[in-house]
Symmetry: C2
Subunit: 432 residues, 2 copies
Amino acid sequence: MNTTTQAQPESRAAAEAAQDHVQGDRLQAAIAELARFGGRDDGGVSRQTLTDIDLQARRYLIDRAGALGCVVEVDDCANLFFRRPGKTDLPPVLTGSHADTQPVGGKLDGAYGVLAGLEVLAALNDAGIETLRPIEVVAWTNEEGSRFGPGAMGSSAFVDPGRLPDYRKVTDGDGVTFGAALDRALQAIPEVPRRALRRPMSSCVELHIEQGPVLEAARVPLGIVAGIQSVRWYRVTLTGMAAHAGTTPMDVRADAMAAAVDVAHRLYAHAAQAAASQLRLTLGRWLVGPNSVNTIPGEVEFTIDVRCVDERVLERFDAALGEIVKSHAWPGRVELECFFSRPPTRFPAEMLALVGQACERACRQASQPPPVALTSGAFHDAMYLAEHCPTAMIFVPSKGGVSHNAAEETAPHELLLGAQALAYAVTALANA
Amino acid sequence: MNTTTQAQPESRAAAEAAQDHVQGDRLQAAIAELARFGGRDDGGVSRQTLTDIDLQARRYLIDRAGALGCVVEVDDCANLFFRRPGKTDLPPVLTGSHADTQPVGGKLDGAYGVLAGLEVLAALNDAGIETLRPIEVVAWTNEEGSRFGPGAMGSSAFVDPGRLPDYRKVTDGDGVTFGAALDRALQAIPEVPRRALRRPMSSCVELHIEQGPVLEAARVPLGIVAGIQSVRWYRVTLTGMAAHAGTTPMDVRADAMAAAVDVAHRLYAHAAQAAASQLRLTLGRWLVGPNSVNTIPGEVEFTIDVRCVDERVLERFDAALGEIVKSHAWPGRVELECFFSRPPTRFPAEMLALVGQACERACRQASQPPPVALTSGAFHDAMYLAEHCPTAMIFVPSKGGVSHNAAEETAPHELLLGAQALAYAVTALANA
């Protein structure tokens, strides 16, 4: 990437022209068309990664990109790349997102970023602009992680191909390996040339819905994502003794649920104290054995998802958690395991400046309030791309903060503004 | 039943002779043989009601009772009755229990009471005793309630046949109705004559393992069951809003698990205060939606099983629960439902006196400590029979208080003492 923080005059003219050629109706039509693959009566979309319906959606994207004159390529993790050539073969500017959904998701999470990327290419075609660098739109494989865990397999394997062999062994609920699902996806498109993972990129911009309530509450249509929160996942396992609810006196019980509720209660109390530091605590997944009305729970396992913009707050949480677990007195056992940990991602200042310029012009042209900076609470493929090249993200609001839900929604004028900002940023970067 | 509290001299002689003819080895062999139906490598038994393996076990019991000279009959709820005729056709004395188990149970819960009943008939045969009244040994259908809920369907339908039509509609996890399972069980024994439900009985004595730690802790081999605890079952349903764990700030959450933990924590605190009154509180069954690491729980449902010998303590718990639920402030909804309530059962004083006499003699003969009175924390078929005729129960110790578990165990000499006490009580009642 060029180290100047603002688009140069000639580059700026092309960026403005690209921005002004983005068509909201065409983008809306594409979103509606892609949503038909796995579309549900309630307006939601069920298109888990590498399922038959996902393969059909991929075919749709390949055809759409082909119609725009793109070169289509695929890598060993079935990430699809749609390339608009530039004047040179310098490393391209990358945009896009993912096209898979949660078991029941909406029509925007991921899909919006891919389709807005293709809309940018259409706008460049309409404006007759040839960029210095190629521009590539990517559809990453398995961002959601609901069929095969963890999420963001495609982008993380792109950045570090050494991850792929282990990913290939992961199985879904039916015992199908990710490797077998990948091979099937690749065999379904034999005409698409294969390319290497970890290809050099000059920069990357991902456009996404916020999936949270911040932009809506601020009544602002565009957000400049400064970075992605730090996160840690823990598993707490309490093993007591299952026994008859009627016959076992309270003083001889080793009740795993009573112990779990006590630990959980202290964790929520800690989070309430740390609220000012924006700590976010979720005890999301609970397994109770034997899970019967009249049997004292003998085993309880629950997960902790804790996030913060400030890594030091998570370190304090980690210490408090260890102390709560260690000091918990009961007749049973407690085990604590941290099974995922990710430090915060901070996007580079020059990328934030360029994306800010792009968002500001889009908002100004539409007489909308200027963009605000915010931190992403969710993971995105951009989190991994930030390890590979200068990266940034743009958010549009989510109505009611709702995502991973059929009710996921963003106003059409906000979706247009996001695509316009993306067009500006990508074009400027492709001429730098 | 005769209203005198002690066996009369001639009746006592027969009762003592019956007691002295009980054979521990024969009882142990029968327990081992029945445990082969559904027997597991870990020593446990898996014989849920009306499964193929249960039908095979029923055939074994029919053959065993036939070899003892019993008349075998079955009613519309597939309860099996093994009748040893008396000198008269006066209403019989009933003993027995159930032969079904939990998904993974032990070899004694229920089975012991049925087989000890048959051992009593064998002892009477060996002693050449003819009683005034017939004696019937029953194997009740579906006491456990794990395949079809609620439990004790057989005994409760016997006492009140009006319950059967609703029971017949209940389905198991595979969609099989209790009615269809009953019909299949009855068709498997076409030669066994059908009889009416709700037949008159002069009295009933059920022998069972304690399934709790009280007798073991007191180092006493026999317990006279004074009654059965009062119990109430509630369902608490908290409905908030499922949302992304990363993107949703703490102050806009409607976290159903945070609310559930708060309610549960207050309930445990109430139970700790009420510990002196022997309140027993179990939050045994939890359903969490969507139950995902990185999604704020949108719905949590948990059950409350609360028991006490003192009904007034449960009334205070009910009031405290209502207050806790009503006063709980959060953005979501809480619903509270009491879905089962059973007042305490108190067995009649004259039955307790007779059973006490039977237990005392058995202990004295074996140089064991005398029996103690205790309250049953668990339900038993005798709870329903107490609505029908004068009823009592005898308990033997459970090693470590363990039941509903493959590790369920009672020492052979204790099993023998229980059967001896039963022989005395049943014989005395059958001559009264």
